[in-house]
């Protein structure tokens, strides 16, 4: 040891703001809308390395759609997008409340992140497959999955398509391109790559989309997914939803010393892009680009959706214990619903009155669905799945030991 060698100390990163502090996002660099050019879909990932450090944005502060990535959606599609986000937000609010009323055990909302899954869904083709996390219900809502069925699943009632076996919100719908959700983090990311490899092996034209949160990028399966996607040029779009918080752990704990999550893709030679996750138009445009790239055989794309989890992690979480209550309001990328609304007003295709009317209609739709679901049952009342059901479907054919156990249980 030389005389100038000092004892080492451990670096534990801290977020910029804790309860009681004033939120400060001044260090968070936000490029102006339209600043990032749209490369051709067959671009060499090496040629767009800067896109992993910038942010693709379409809507500017005045609500105008600007730059190369604008213009992909018709007015009708924008109206639809706004409606999907309103539906998801209202659905979330009603289900959160239902959980507090004891009608289900658990719920996870999307507040502030509605654009990510709602817009992405519209970039996929029928037959494509998402491998979602628990915060992409917009994929179902925007693809027309029946809301009553979602509620039946949340209530674990007799019409729950999963027969009460799964936690609330862990939906599954092959028909709607929505892989069965796991509660274990990151596992689905590498499965999406396998599904995409299977499509390529089979000479199919369908693609897969994997989803993971900022915190779970630290899981081994994230890295496995990246190396397999890279090696086999899998037709997959790999989405990181960076909502800044993994329960109480800020994104810096998973990100470590690298500048952005998207930059993780560089080591694998994967095209890596950051997008403004609160900008419906930007998410849709980048998703469309990445999906086309995958479908044409140019390989995987890693997309970091930069957004903010405005609510708690789940109904079991109280974020005021670890972050400032004012942080959500200070988040510089704003609110996705408000931004799309402002855009539609700016182009003369919307108004405050029409918005209020749309909100009322959406509330009515969600209430009607909720009444229908609750007429069947909730976790605490009404028709519930048979206990016999837990023994079914462990295997295609029930083996003798399970038959004996079911008899022993008396079902």
């Amino acid at each position: 040891m030389t005389s100038d060698t000092r004892p080492l100390s451990l670096n534990v990163p801290e977020p910029g703001c804790r309860p009681g502090n004033t939120p400060d996002f001044s260090g968070f660099e936000i490029p102006r809308a339209g600043a990032v050019p749209r490369p051709p879909v067959d671009v060499d990932p090496d040629a767009i390395r800067d896109m992993a450090f910038s942010i693709v944005r379409v809507l500017n502060k005045d609500g105008e759609a600007v730059g190369d990535w604008a213009g992909a959606l018709s007015t009708e599609e924008l109206h639809e997008g706004l409606r999907h986000m309103l539906l998801l937000r209202t659905f979330d609010a009603r289900m959160l409340n239902a959980q507090r009323q004891g009608k289900t055990s658990f719920y996870m909302q999307h507040l502030g992140e509605e654009a990510v899954s709602c817009a992405f869904s519209r970039a996929l083709e029928p037959g494509d497959m998402n491998f979602p996390t628990y915060r992409q219900a917009g994929l179902l809502i925007a693809s027309g999955y029946p809301m009553v069925t979602m509620m039946n699943q949340i209530y674990s009632n007799a019409e729950d398509p999963l027969h009460g076996r799964q936690l609330p919100i862990m939906y599954s719908s092959k028909e709607h391109g929505f892989f069965t959700i796991s509660g274990n983090l990151g596992t689905q990311f590498v499965q999406s790559v396998g599904w995409a490899m299977a499509s390529a092996i089979s000479g199919d034209t369908r693609i897969a989309a994997g989803w993971i949160g900022d915190g779970s990028t630290a899981e081994n399966d994230f890295h496995a997914a990246m190396v397999f996607a890279s090696t086999y040029t899998a037709p997959v779009v790999l989405n990181i939803v960076n909502n800044q918080w993994a329960i109480s752990t800020f994104q810096g704990i998973a990100r470590g010393g690298v500048g952005t999550f998207a930059a993780r893709g560089h080591g694998f030679g994967i095209a890596s892009v950051r997008v403004d996750g609160n900008d419906y138009l930007a998410v849709h445009a980048v998703a469309k680009w990445a999906c086309e790239r995958a479908r044409r055989g140019h390989g995987p794309t890693l997309i970091e959706h930069v957004t903010y989890r405005a609510g708690g992690h789940s109904t079991s979480d109280d974020p005021s214990a670890y972050r400032s209550r004012r942080e959500a309001a200070a988040w510089p990328l704003g609110d996705p619903v408000e931004r799309l609304k402002k855009h539609l007003i700016a182009i003369g295709e919307w108004s405050e009155e029409r918005h209020a009317q749309a909100e009322a209609e959406v509330l009515d739709t969600v209430r009607t669905a909720q009444k229908e679901a609750e007429a069947i049952g909730t976790l605490s009342a009404g028709k519930v799945p048979s206990p016999r059901d837990m023994f079914e479907g462990v295997y295609e054919t029930m083996p003798p030991h399970l038959i004996r156990q079911r008899q022993e249980a008396g079902f």
């Binding site: 027969h163 496995a224 295997y395």
Partner: protein, 332 residues
Amino acid sequence: MIEAIREAHDAAMAADERVVVFGEDVGFFGGVFRCTAGLQEKYGKSRCFDAPINESGIVGTAIGMAAYGLKPVIEIQFADYVYPAYDQIVSEAARLRHRSNADFTCPLVIRMPTGGGIFGGQTHSQSPEALFTHVSGLKVVMPSNPRDAKGLLLASIADPDPVIFFEPKRLYNGPFDGHHDQPVESWKSHPLGEVPDGDDIVPLGKAAIRREGAEVTVLAYGTMVFVAEAAAEETGVDAEVIDLRSLMPLDLEAIVGSVQKTGRCVIVHEATRTSGFGAELMALVQEHCFYHLEAPVIRVTGWDTPYPHAQEWEYFPGPGRVGEALKKVMED
């Protein structure tokens, strides 16, 4: 046995283009034990290929492929290497059907060489079957000979649910009865070394009686089947040796029928003892055969230590130890 496993792959790949094979070194080279030799050349690189050294990635991608509609048959190079994939196997492969109410299923075979007797030390000798029999939704299979290896592998590939397929690596090149100091025998001279052509299956969940006997039932699988047979011959105890072949589902009927007949039972496995599959077998024998038992059931197993290198034969439950147990269970 290697050739039988290769033939099973070949037959399955020829019959069904959804069957794909991958794992570490399985493509061009044909696997470190040669179980997939020639498959890449015959069926092309997109149906038989090398994978990165990442077991959770191999299993995770295979689950995605199975959910797509393919039938992946993947190799984990040694059972000792499967642990990084445990989450994918337990939380995902085993659960897809149940949690999605069969919206998604996972017809997947995960093959892996298991067991010791090859001086592989603690990272090339383990028998982790109990880690998988404990998981609902998985099937667990372990053949003891080439004929069963082919038939059981074909049955596993045809199965609609995930199957963990253990291949006792000490049996790859011949029947091994634990007498490590004697010349290696080849499968050529053994009747079970004869493998029929075609794609006949050996059904999962059916045990085989390898040696009929009246005095004591020996429950064994994999390498221990031959060890038990040798112990019976060498001690003169008239043991009935049952080769379980499939641990999940388990042929309880065969076990109960035999133990009720003999009134005595010795359970043999190479894996460590505590919470090993032998504990489950012992519990089942107690539940179903208590009033027929003439003596306490005995387990002969690997010790509860890591699999040692230099002390391999002191660890391995060979015919000497099994013979002692047979004599003891007859005295009790």
